[in-house]
């Protein structure tokens, strides 16, 4: 049980994640893509006569069931499969983040940015609310996210998915190496 409770190394987790795409195909000819669940929820709850949300979302209930499973799996994992150790990031990352003012390295995300008391501070607004908005807006604009494009699309060599994956990365680099200077 000890190995289950300690964080899993990349060479265990990566190949396991690689099984998800073929599992979707073989379980019911379904496509792996999590950002599309955001579209499905919009279509189900507030379609507002918008073209993008005019389709029968009920035929895609399986995707909503899948993301509900993610929430449950993460809950179970944090409750029974966690030893509570801090994320073992490299020393160089740690010192660079400390230079930005991050001091609490417990948990999966820094409480200075991701906690209820900090939600309505400038940082909380930018990292949680603006960040979330950009994720939802950008993934739909790009036609997919890390799962739909990088995991699924690349597995059958879609040019769009290669371009998308590179763009995701470019955006992340711009934020981390240029825009973070203005945010901290």
């Amino acid at each position: 049980m000890e190995w289950l409770k300690s964080p899993w190394p990349w060479y265990v987790a990566g190949p396991l994640i690689g099984l998800i795409t073929p599992a979707f195909l073989l379980l019911g000819n379904k496509t792996f893509g999590i950002s599309s669940s955001l579209r499905d929820i919009c279509a189900a709850c507030f379609p507002s006569g918008i073209e993008l949300f005019k389709y029968n979302w009920r035929e895609r209930t399986w995707n909503l069931v899948f993301v509900a499973g993610i929430v449950i799996g993460a809950f179970l994992s944090s409750q029974i499969l966690s030893d509570g150790s801090p994320v073992a990031i490299s020393d160089s990352t740690k010192s660079e983040l400390m230079a930005l003012g991050i001091s609490d390295f417990h948990g999966l995300a820094p409480v200075e940015l991701f906690s209820w008391p900090n939600l309505l501070t400038a940082k909380g607004f930018i990292f949680i609310i603006l960040g979330g908005f950009l994720v939802g807006f950008g993934t739909r604009y790009a036609g997919g996210c890390t799962s739909g494009h990088t995991m699924f699309g690349l597995s059958y060599f879609q040019m769009a998915s290669l371009v998308a994956s590179i763009s995701f990365f470019v955006g992340g680099l711009i934020m981390t190496h240029f825009l973070f200077d203005f945010l901290f």
Binding site: W8, W10, A13, G14, I17, G18, I20, T21, G28, N29, S37, C42, S48, L52, F53, W62, V67, G69, I70, V71, I72, G73, A74, S77, S78, S82, I89, S90, T93, L97, L108, W116, L119, I129, L130, G132, F133, L134, V135, G136, F137, G138, T139, R140, Y141, A142, G143, C145, T146, M151, S155, F157, M159, A160, A164, S167, F168, G171, I174, T176
Partner: protein
């Protein structure tokens, strides 16, 4: 009830994402700063394993467990992939989460991410509302 299989798959995926710390803002920062193999190893090996198995599925024309033919839709390629992809990347570095981890963070106890998830829904809705006016 046929959807139970996707609930199970989601649970498995949620466990893996959490145990591999893919949902950690710290890990995403480490990745964008090129300071560990962790995230590159995960994404790289996942893509390779996925591609090999999808290749086998196509080569052997494997059917689904219900006997259906497996089909792979072509992904739309336009300017939106680049513009939207970059916008998502900005948000990925801010939240430290792509859509899967947004859900997983809520489950794993970073409950404030419910707000991040709601904001992502608003982002998707806003894209839908503006779709025709945006360059594609």
């Amino acid at each position: 009830m046929k959807n139970i299989r996707y609930l199970f798959l989601g649970i498995v995926f949620g466990v893996i994402l959490t145990k591999a710390e893919v949902i950690s803002w710290f890990r995403i920062q480490e990745m964008f700063r090129f300071q560990s193999i962790h995230m590159y190893g995960i994404i790289g090996s996942a893509v390779v394993v996925g591609a090999v198995l999808v290749f086998i599925i196509r080569r052997l024309s494997l059917k689904t467990i219900d006997g259906e033919t497996v089909t792979l839709p072509a992904k739309r390629m336009d300017k939106g992939v680049v513009i939207g992809g970059t916008i998502f990347g900005l948000g990925w570095a801010l939240t430290g989460a792509c859509p899967g981890p947004l859900y997983a963070l809520v489950g794993s106890g970073t409950t404030v991410m419910i707000v991040g998830l709601a904001s992502a829904l608003l982002g998707t809705w806003t894209y839908g509302a503006l779709q025709k006016k945006l360059p594609h």
